[in-house]
């Protein structure tokens, strides 16, 4: 999946992407990094076709029906229980399924009968990630999937996302958290000022910035531009 020479200007005339080029690895979890407001979510909107995709710039991305897109900060229905919410997704995905509460991950089994609106922010995020992970699509887009999660739950989510990738699913996510980027199964893309400023593995990122800490590497890259 590649983006080639993509330029986009917002309706208020601010230029968001300036001849942007990016390459996404199919067999790695692609992570879009970058400061707030650089257009990470908007790029996911283009990839997902929520915003019309320019065919000459976007190559190799699946069609709309083959994409699952978890949107940042959008809740499920407050009146539905956790089980009913996931069951609804399962019914859409696989009619005549025999999905039971026992099929929920351990962390969600405890709150299976709790209404979504009564969950904490982190628990809601887990429900959303779990639901989207159950959709059978070629490409999964996650917008800050670890947002609002404690370190242990964030790890659970990233493991689930890695599992999807190992099952052959393509993944692109945005993130501001680094504690779980601990191996080279990730492909980092640092977006700033309309261009990808770094693209490569976490170890290459650390090597380039001469540090062993991803946070420091991030800050250095941000300041370098």
């Amino acid at each position: 999946m590649e983006i080639k020479d993509f330029t986009y200007t917002l309706p208020d005339k601010r230029q968001l992407y300036d001849h942007l080029n990016a390459h996404f690895e199919d067999d790695k979890v692609n992570i879009l990094l970058g400061p707030n407001g650089v257009g990470k979510t908007t790029l996911l909107d283009f990839i997902s076709t929520v915003k019309p995709r320019d065919l000459s710039s976007f190559e190799g991305f699946p069609a709309f029906k083959q994409i699952a897109y978890q949107i940042q900060g959008v809740p499920f229905i407050y009146e539905a229980t956790v089980y009913n919410t996931i069951k609804m997704v399962m019914d859409i995905q696989t009619p005549n399924n025999r999905f039971t509460k026992a099929d929920l991950p351990d962390v969600l089994q405890k709150v299976a009968d709790v209404k979504y609106g009564k969950l904490s922010g982190g628990q809601r995020q887990l429900v959303i990630i779990d639901a989207f992970s159950r959709l059978n699509r070629q490409l999964y887009l996650f917008d800050e999937p670890e947002s609002g999660l404690d370190p242990r739950m964030a790890q659970v989510v990233m493991q689930r996302i890695q599992q999807l990738n190992s099952e052959g699913k393509k993944i692109i996510l945005t993130s501001h958290q680094f504690q779980n980027i601990n191996n080279d199964h990730y492909h980092l893309l640092f977006l700033k000022d309309g261009k990808i400023r770094f693209e490569g593995s976490p170890s290459e990122f650390l090597k380039r910035e001469g540090t062993s800490d991803l946070v420091q590497a991030y800050i250095k890259t941000d300041e370098d531009q």
């Binding site: 917002l10 309706p11 208020d12 908007t42 909107d45 997902s48 929520v50 915003k51 709309f64 029906k65 994409i67 699952a68 897109y69 978890q70 949107i71 900060g73 959008v74 229905i77 009146e79 539905a80 609804m88 997704v89 019914d91 859409i92 009619p95 005549n96 639901a131 989207f132 959709l135």
Partner: protein, 246 residues
């Protein structure tokens, strides 16, 4: 397709039944006005007068129900990004629209049934009127979805949720004001084509109209079919992005 629709509709039923406040606008208000109008006018109404009274109320209940519970719900879903999320889950915007429309059609039908019982208690109508009421109620299963497609052009307008209430109230009032037609045959045809309330009145009037029966039948059939086709395209193509997003 139908399994997906069924799964989504179950969810929409939860929402539909949760917001009981909407019943005030779509059922309680017209029912109270009906009772007020009944006691403020002559009780000795002809069958034709009763029919005209009833179809005005039915037209209001259907149009206000569709505007408040289907079109406004879709626009609100677009603005809070629910539409985007559920479209990615279901794979098709139209499924979200239908999943909303099906339970709301049943809710509106329940409201009309309750209204008809109230009307029957006060009017004490003869069998002919009771048959007319029942026939119109059955026909509503077709009329209500068609009205939803009539008003689906609103989904293509970049409307903010803050202005939605005012716009819908104005649209509803204008549609009802225009629904009783004019003496001009051509203008009446035009009204049926552009105004969902005139369409509703036009369909009901097929049961008792003395003149222009064939013209009305052809107009409501062609206009209704055209709106179903065009409405489906509008829903399928409607923006998933909130108007206020960048």
């Amino acid at each position: 397709m139908f399994k997906k629709l069924s799964a989504l509709s179950k969810f929409e039923v939860n929402i539909a039944l949760d917001d009981k406040g909407l019943f005030i606008y779509t059922l309680v208000f017209p029912a109270l006005y009906f009772i007020y109008a009944f006691f403020s006018s002559s009780h000795d109404l002809t069958n034709l007068a009763i029919r005209y009274h009833l179809l005005g109320f039915w037209s209001y209940i259907i149009l206000s129900g569709i505007l408040n519970q289907v079109i406004t719900a879709m626009i609100s879903m677009r603005e809070n990004n629910f539409l985007k999320m559920f479209t990615f889950i279901s794979g098709d915007r139209r499924l979200i629209f239908y999943a909303n429309l099906i339970p709301q059609t049943l809710v509106i039908q329940a409201e009309i049934l309750i209204f008809d019982i109230i009307a029957a208690v006060f009017y004490r109508p003869d069998l002919e009127i009771l048959e007319f009421m029942f026939a119109c109620w059955l026909l509503n299963f077709i009329i209500i979805p068609v009205v939803a497609f009539y008003t689906s052009f609103l989904l293509a307008i970049p409307m903010r949720t803050q202005t939605l209430g005012v716009f819908m109230t104005g649209y509803l009032l204008l549609a009802l004001l225009l629904s009783y037609g004019t003496t001009s045959k051509l203008l009446n045809i035009l009204l049926v084509i552009i105004n969902p309330s005139s369409f509703v009145v036009g369909v009901y009037s097929l049961f008792f109209a003395q003149t222009d029966l064939m013209t009305t039948l052809i107009t409501v059939s062609v206009a209704g079919l055209a709106y179903v086709i065009v409405g489906n395209v509008i829903v399928a193509k409607m923006s998933l992005n909130s108007v206020i997003s960048r």
